[in-house]
Amino acid sequence: MSRPGGRRSEDDLRAAFAAKATQAPKAEDVLRAVRRATRPRPSKLRWLLPAVAAAAAAPAAMSANNGVCRPDQVRAAVTVRRDAGVERATLTVTALADCRIARVPRVTWNGATVGAVPAPDAGGTRSGSGAPRTATADRYGLLAAGATATAIIAATDPCSARAGDAVQVDWGAGEVELHATGAAPRCEAPAQPARLNIGPFRGLS
């Protein structure tokens, strides 16, 4: 209790502290928060593991199909232009990931087989495009992520290739259907059966 003149005793201070101590929070409330904070949390690895597993599986998947580019791993297009009265088309393949494509793809143009000019360092016949028919490793080239490979499709006759034509391309992963685009002048002559030849891809390593 305070003394006259406003002075207090040490016992007053002890009593005040003892009274204050009765306001302590409950241990269980604090413990609950501590347990919540120290509870083992789901590891962030939990979210990482599928990605790691997928990354680990990727090489296996690549080897399973010889690392050939899946259709979803590339952007492919065929553009047509007229050059000296004869159409030339360009097949462009851009990889989104490192993968392999046949150096000479198999192509059909409006259902007609496009002849293949074999790659200089690869054997084969000229009887038609069809890289998968020979499965030797050098039949495929590596297309790095972001890199673009182009192959020229040359026509022997005018009006053999036009914008809008359906083009099936197989670089080793099955046929992918594309539609030729381009600002080729309108062909006045009647459409000819496709007599086309495709050269090897450039830009492969």
Binding site: R7, L13, R14, A19, K20, P25, A27, V30, L31, T38
Partner: protein, 164 residues
């Protein structure tokens, strides 16, 4: 002693100490919670000490003294005690509340010394060990704190103590 055993038997006392030290129930809860989370992580070492509870109390003091950086996100509020007093105790209760309010305004080291001495009953040497300062420094803190609270000393040693 496991962490759970410590919590079951000693945590209430630690919380009472913390609320006296901080003069604030919410802050005491926060401080003890922080301390326990850290202690839990290295309880194996703490349990090997002779007095784990003393170590935890020391952690509480240090946490309280270093709490300054956390004040920015701490919103002070007025603590309203439940009015359960008898009419004849009203004056004593009011005086006690006034004294605690003044204790709350003391610098934290002074406050810690007073709590350790008058609530925990520790010697100045023990307090100096906890705060990491000399015994004379502890007496200096105590002297100034008591003077600010206008507390009349009954201890002859303290009466003769004048750190200035």
């Amino acid at each position: 002693m496991t962490f759970e055993e410590f919590a079951a038997t000693r945590l209430d006392a630690v919380l009472r100490f913390a609320v006296v030290l901080t003069n604030d129930r919410g802050l005491a809860e926060d401080v003890v919670q922080e301390v326990l989370i850290r202690a839990y992580g290295r309880w194996a070492q703490i349990a090997e000490l002779d007095y784990p509870e003393a170590y935890v109390r020391r952690m509480v003091v240090n946490e309280f003294l270093s709490w300054r950086r956390k004040w920015a996100r701490y919103v002070p509020y007025a603590e309203v005690e439940p009015d359960v007093r008898e009419p004849d105790q009203a004056a004593a209760q009011a005086e006690r509340s006034a004294m605690l309010a003044e204790v709350g305004k003391l610098p934290r080291r002074q406050r810690a010394v007073l709590v350790l001495r008058y609530y925990e009953g520790l010697s100045d040497a023990q307090i100096g060990e906890i705060l990491g300062c000399a015994e004379t420094t502890v007496r200096g803190y105590a002297f100034r704190g008591l003077a600010a609270l206008r507390i009349e000393l009954t201890s002859s040693a303290m009466k003769s103590e004048d750190p200035t």
